[in-house]
Symmetry: C2
Subunit: 217 residues, 2 copies
């Protein structure tokens, strides 16, 4: 059996809410053209072509903290995580586990949601992004999140994020030719992990024998 | 024989001038610790250890346009190019050729210096940097430089350049942990060549059979 540990899906309840909050966003206007991202039947039909194969699910971008303020993202995370958990419960052979989304602009809410997603919903890790509205993951305010995941001994998936408004030249105000994505995303991952390393986190929170706490892809 | 086509050296006349113009700059305070970068005897002694080996020389950074205004860089380029040409004349076995530096904040002066450096001094190409004070090489004002090099059918070396003041996160004002250099320089090269490709330059100025006009390293 092949278990593919990094796959995105948008549960219907979450996707509908996204349409209310950011109706013109590319995640609402363009992503749905990929039916298998938002239509569970289409996804299951696709997977049937691959035989003995299972997927660990996580939400697609945008990061929750780019969609709503800190008083709203905790609810968004609950909707997303409840939705992914339900899909896993109904189709355990295809979706043996999911990775929980986090309201990163509200760290206390993250700590509550980590416990709830793992203990109540069965999440097997969390997904966060390479920057939190422009702030590095190595910033001290995010340390409690890493500490809690280390206590749970479960991994963190780090997903690259950058938008075209991050210019590649100081004389410009936006990136051109999709460089922000094609090369900017791998750069984001590299910068995020470099900053985490130099922040001392791997010494502070060494991996257990059974897991490696921080993943990046 | 091995001919190494990308090596930096600072001729004495040029290095002395740099000391007048930017006395506190790292190129003046720290680079000279590497004796072989500014001391010709030390460089020749170093090369003796490598047997049948020759180097094509070019100036080390900083780019001229970051040192002085457009009325001064043409003279700086002449000093640098005259200095490298003289070293090549005196030691043709070790230094069979050099690549000319350009006053990129003064395009008309570049066009004059290209002709002079190639016809009078024997330069076998030019070195430019991945951005000109923050402006991409694909900007229309630099096209005449590429056109002239294509007419000479000689290559352009593109050197990465970025300083710590280019932040990796939008919430910050500077890069940390030397990311601007270790990962930012390769990113610069990638972005510069991507922008050149999308600007159509490789269709406008196709390589001749004998050379490939644009190099990047």
């Amino acid at each position: 059996m092949i278990i593919d540990i990094y796959n995105h899906f948008m549960p219907k309840q979450y996707f509908d809410r996204l349409g209310d909050l950011i109706p013109g966003h590319v995640a609402v206007t363009a992503f749905p053209r990929l039916r298998t991202l938002i239509d569970l039947d289409a996804r299951l039909k696709l997977l049937d072509r691959f035989g003995d194969y299972a997927q660990v699910l996580s939400l697609a971008n945008p990061p929750l903290e780019t969609i709503a303020g800190p008083e709203q993202t905790a609810e968004l995370a609950r909707i997303a995580n409840d939705g992914l958990a339900e899909i896993c419960r109904r189709h355990p052979a295809r979706f043996p586990a999911f990775i929980a989304s986090m309201p990163m602009n509200n760290v206390p809410a993250c700590l509550v949601e980590i416990d709830r997603a793992i203990a109540t919903l069965g999440a097997r890790g969390i997904q966060i992004f390479t920057n939190v509205n422009g702030t590095p993951l190595s910033a001290p305010q995010f340390r409690p999140i890493f500490q809690k995941m280390r206590a749970h001994d479960l991994p963190i998936w780090i997903h690259p994020i950058r938008a075209p408004n991050f210019p590649d030249y100081t004389s410009e105000s936006a990136s051109e030719a999709e460089i922000w994505f094609s090369f900017g995303w791998p750069y984001e991952t590299t910068a995020a992990v470099t900053r985490l390393i130099y922040s001392g986190i791997y010494d502070e929170l060494p991996a257990s024998r059974s897991s490696r706490t921080i993943w990046a892809a």
